[in-house]
C-alpha cells in the first residue's frame, strides 16, 4: 500500500489542519486499498465497508497527532490493521464467523459490490472459475490463524514488501518469511481439503 503519486505532503498537512477537502482527497486515494484489506481480513463486504469507514474516521480524528507527514502511509496501515484486529475479535466473540451470515462475494446478487477486477478478455467460463477460486481463497483465509491471514493478505494480496511488513508488524524480515511460508503451506492444505 504505497502512497499514490497524487497525494502530496501538502494535502496531509492541510488534512491535519482540519481541511475537509484535503481529507476527502485522502479518502479517495486510499479507500480502495483500505477496503480491500478490511474485506480480505473479515470476508464480509458490509463489515469491511463499515470498518474501512471507521478507519477513515479515526484518521480524521487523530491526524492532528501525526508528527511526521512522511509517515502517513505507514500510520494509515497501522490504523487499518489495528481496526481489523479489533473488529475480528469483536465478531469472533459474537460467533459471527460460525453462522451462515458469512458473506460470499461470488454468490452476492449485487455484482457491483463484489465485482472483481478481471481481465475483460475473460469469457464467462473463466470468469465463473475465477469467482469460485475467489470464494475458495477467501474461505481458506478465514480458516487460517489471524496472524497467518494478516501475513498472506499483506504480502500475497496487497503486495506489501517485507520491509513494510516488518515495520508494520514489528517483526524481523526472516521471521516474517518463515511465518509466511508456514501460512502459505497451511492455506494450501485448507484449499486441498475444501476442493475435495
Amino acid at each position: 500500500m504505497k502512497t499514490p503519486p497524487g497525494i502530496q505532503r501538502e494535502t496531509i498537512e492541510n488534512c491535519k489542519a482540519g481541511d475537509e477537502k484535503a481529507f476527502e482527497e485522502v479518502v479517495l486515494h486510499y479507500q480502495k486499498k483500505v477496503f480491500n484489506i478490511t474485506y480480505r481480513m473479515l470476508g464480509n463486504l458490509e463489515e469491511a465497508k463499515d470498518l474501512a469507514q471507521e478507519v477513515f474516521i479515526s484518521v480524521f480524528e487523530s491526524i492532528k497527532d501525526l508528527k511526521e507527514e512522511a509517515k502517513f502511509d505507514a500510520w494509515l496501515k497501522k490504523i487499518t490493521l489495528n481496526h481489523c484486529r479489533n473488529r475480528w475479535k469483536y465478531l469472533k466473540r459474537r460467533k459471527y464467523f460460525n453462522s451462515d451470515s458469512l458473506d460470499d462475494p461470488v454468490e452476492t446478487e449485487d455484482g457491483a459490490m463484489t465485482k472483481v477486477i478481471s481481465d475483460p478478455s475473460d469469457n464467462p467460463e473463466t470468469l465463473y472459475e475465477k469467482k469460485v477460486i475467489q470464494q475458495l481463497v477467501q474461505r481458506g483465509l478465514l480458516n487460517l490463524k489471524e496472524d497467518q491471514r494478516e501475513l498472506i493478505v499483506l504480502r500475497d494480496l496487497q503486495g506489501f514488501s517485507y520491509e513494510e511488513m516488518g515495520e508494520l508488524l514489528g517483526l524481523p524480515e526472516g521471521t516474517i518469511k518463515s511465518k509466511l511460508h508456514r501460512a502459505r503451506m497451511d492455506l494450501k492444505g485448507i484449499l486441498e481439503r475444501s476442493a475435495h
Binding site: E24, V27, L28, Q31, K32, F35, N36, Y39, L45, K49, A52, Q53, F56, I57, F60, K64, D65, P105, A112, M113, T114, K115, V116, I117, S118, K130, I133, Q134, L136, V137, Q138, I152, D156, L157, K177, L180, H181, R184, M185, L187, K188, L191, E192
Partner: protein, 349 residues
C-alpha cells in the same frame, strides 16, 4: 537435499529469492522426488489462486456514508465535550502538563494535610492555655452558675410549697436576681452590664456572684433590704451577714443592751425588728463585740452560729475583693473591709 529441506524453500523458490546454486539443488530434488514435485505443484496453484484474487471494487456511496457517520459522531460528541468543558478535545500536549501540575498539587495538599496540620493543632493547643485561662474560668463560672440556677428552678418546680413565693420568683428567672443586683450596685452595674447576653461574656463574675447570692438561703431578705442604707446594701449584697443566736430571758433589755454595745463598738443598727437585730460593725472590733455580747447575756445561753461566715465567708470574701477590684470603687472596697454585718437573733427561753 532431503524432502523437508526442499519443501521449506518453496516460498523462496516461488519468489525467486534463492541463490542460483541453491535453486538448482531444490529443482534437482524436485525432479527426482515425485512426492515433492506434487507438493510443489499444489503450492504453485495456491499461490496462483491467491494472486489471481485481485482487488475488490469499493462499494458505491462509500464517501457519502462516511460523511454521514462523521456527522452523527460529531452531533453525539458535541454535548459530551461541552459537558466536559472541551477537555477531551484538548491536545495531548496541553493535557499532560495540566495533569502533571494537578498531580503535584494533590501531592502537596496531601502532604500539607498529613504533616502541617498536626503542627497547627499543636500550636493551637499550646496557645490555648496561655490565652484563655480567664476565659475558661469565666466559662466554668457561668456554667456553674447556670447549673445552680437550674437546680433551684427544678427544686422550686418540684416543691412549690417549701419556698416562699418571692423566693420562687427570684429563683425562677435570673432577671429578678439581676434586678436586685442592680439595686445593690446602683447605676454602676447597669453601665457595666448593659445586656444579659454581653454580661455572660464580658462580666461573668457579677453574674455568678448574683447567682451565688440567690443561692444563699436568707430567712428575711426583704426586711434586711428595707433597713439597709445604700452603703450597707452594698456590703450586705456583697457579703452575707454573720448570724449570732442568743438565748435570753429578757428580750427587751437584751435588745437595748445590744444597741448600746453596737454603738460602743462604733457600729450602727441597720434594723431592729422583734427578736432580730441587724447591725453593721467595724470588722476589726467585731471579735471583741462578739465576746462582749456573749458576756452580756445573763443567761449566757449564747449559742453562736456563724453559719454563712464559716461556710462561705472566706471564698465570698475573696470574691468580694475581686469584685471590688473589678468595680474599681475604692470607697466601697474600704467599706467592705471595715464593716461586718451581723444578725443577732434573740430567743426567749
Amino acid at each position: 537435499m532431503d524432502c523437508e529441506e526442499a519443501r521449506d524453500r518453496f516460498s523462496s523458490l516461488w519468489e525467486k529469492e534463492l541463490i542460483p546454486s541453491e535453486e538448482n539443488k531444490v529443482r534437482e530434488h524436485l525432479s527426482s522426488c515425485p512426492g515433492c514435485q506434487e507438493e510443489w505443484g499444489r503450492f504453485e496453484k495456491t499461490m496462483q489462486w491467491l494472486h489471481s484474487a485481485g482487488e475488490v471494487e469499493i462499494p458505491n456511496g462509500f464517501l457519502p456514508e462516511l460523511y454521514k457517520k462523521m456527522g452523527e459522531r460529531k452531533s453525539k460528541a458535541t454535548p459530551t465535550e461541552k459537558a466536559k468543558g472541551g477537555w477531551v478535545s484538548l491536545p495531548q500536549s496541553l493535557k499532560l502538563p495540566v495533569q502533571a501540575v494537578a498531580m503535584v498539587a494533590i501531592v502537596f495538599l496531601v502532604l500539607y494535610l498529613t504533616k502541617m496540620m498536626p503542627i497547627e493543632r499543636g500550636r493551637l493547643r499550646e496557645s490555648k492555655p496561655i490565652s484563655s485561662p480567664l476565659f475558661a474560668e469565666k466559662k466554668s463560672e457561668q456554667v456553674f452558675a447556670q447549673k445552680e440556677v437550674e437546680k433551684e428552678r427544678r427544686a422550686v418546680e418540684f416543691h412549690p410549697n417549701t419556698r416562699r413565693s418571692e423566693d420562687v420568683e427570684q429563683a425562677k428567672t435570673p432577671v429578678p436576681g439581676k434586678k436586685k443586683l442592680e439595686e445593690a450596685y446602683g447605676p454602676q452595674m447597669k453601665a457595666e452590664a448593659p445586656s444579659s447576653k454581653t454580661e455572660v461574656g464580658t462580666n461573668p463574675p457579677i453574674d455568678s456572684r448574683a447567682v451565688a447570692r440567690l443561692k444563699v438561703p436568707s430567712p428575711e431578705p426583704k426586711e434586711i433590704e428595707k433597713g439597709l442604707t445604700a452603703k450597707d446594701k452594698l456590703v450586705a449584697a456583697s457579703k452575707p451577714p454573720r448570724e449570732i443566736v442568743l438565748r435570753i430571758s429578757n428580750q427587751e433589755r437584751m435588745i437595748s443592751l445590744v444597741h448600746e454595745l453596737v454603738r460602743e463598738f462604733g457600729g450602727e443598727i441597720v434594723t431592729s425588728e422583734g427578736n432580730m437585730v441587724l447591725a453593721s460593725l467595724p470588722t476589726n472590733s467585731f471579735s471583741e463585740f462578739e465576746n462582749e455580747l456573749a458576756g452580756l447575756s445573763a443567761s449566757i445561753g449564747t449559742d453562736k452560729e456563724d453559719v454563712k461566715g464559716s461556710l462561705r465567708g472566706e471564698p465570698s470574701e475573696k470574691r468580694e475583693e475581686a469584685d471590688v477590684k473589678s468595680q474599681g470603687s475604692p470607697r466601697t472596697a474600704t467599706d467592705q473591709e471595715k464593716h461586718t454585718v451581723v444578725r443577732i437573733l434573740l430567743i426567749q427561753e
